[in-house]
């Protein structure tokens, strides 16, 4: 069966420090991959999505970036974190052509 992992589960980082959040999917090939941020009072915001290795679409301009170095690996990065980057980050995957998305457990990021 398919599973999706995210780590770390919780992260506390100082302002200006770099960020790397990892997401991996098992049990499927060539999934569509997504990064969302769930901020308090702002709902679920799509940040990036990818339909293949090296193919990244950005939905929201900001100081975050995403990469997909392998088929089932999706990384969210930042060179310098801002206070406003605090939030709950969710990774999701879907089968290409099908609409149901399956979500990872999330990473809670606190920037101080």
């Amino acid at each position: 069966s398919q599973t999706i992992h995210q780590w770390p589960a919780t992260l506390v980082q100082p302002v200006g420090s770099p960020l790397s959040l990892e997401c991996t999917v098992e049990g499927t090939s060539n999934p569509n991959l997504y990064w969302y941020r769930q901020a308090a009072g702002r709902g679920l915001q799509l940040l990036f999505y990818s339909v293949g290795i090296g193919q990244i679409s950005s939905e929201v301009p900001q100081n975050l970036s995403a990469s997909r170095p392998q088929d089932r690996q999706f990384i969210l990065s930042s060179k310098k974190l801002l206070l406003s980057d605090s939030g709950f980050y969710l990774c999701a995957w879907s089968v290409p052509g099908l609409e149901t998305q399956y979500f990872g457990p999330g990473t809670r990021l606190l920037v101080l």
């Binding site: 769930q38 999505y49 609409e99 149901t100 979500f103």
Partner: protein, 105 residues
């Protein structure tokens, strides 16, 4: 612009009361709408899809094209229904802002 709107950030009801979580969409065509739920300390998960026309955990949702709505309903709320609910068209990568349902004893 295509949009899914959940007008209520918080809905608080007593156990046993009926629940209706509102969702409206603002685009033409045949929307493929879903409801996702996130219980406390659990991951976001699919609750139901409109094309399935199913009832999950006592919840149902009917697509009303005339009112462009996809409200989530349950006749008798339970405390374990307390969670964050998102209306979405994941195929269009559109999620609503989410509604927190609080069921009080």
């Amino acid at each position: 612009a295509q949009r899914v709107t959940q007008p209520e950030k918080l809905l608080s009801v007593f156990k046993g009361a009926p629940v209706e979580l509102k969702c409206n969409y603002s685009y033409s065509g045949s929307p493929e709408l879903f409801w996702y739920v996130q219980y406390s300390r659990q991951r976001l998960q699919l609750l139901l899809r409109h094309i399935s026309r199913e009832s999950i955990k006592g919840f149902t949702a009917d697509l009303n094209k005339g009112e462009t709505s996809f409200h989530l309903k349950k006749p008798f709320a339970q405390e374990e229904d307390s969670a964050m609910y998102y209306c979405a068209n994941p195929g269009k990568l559109i999620f609503g802002q989410g509604t927190t349902l609080q069921v009080k004893p």
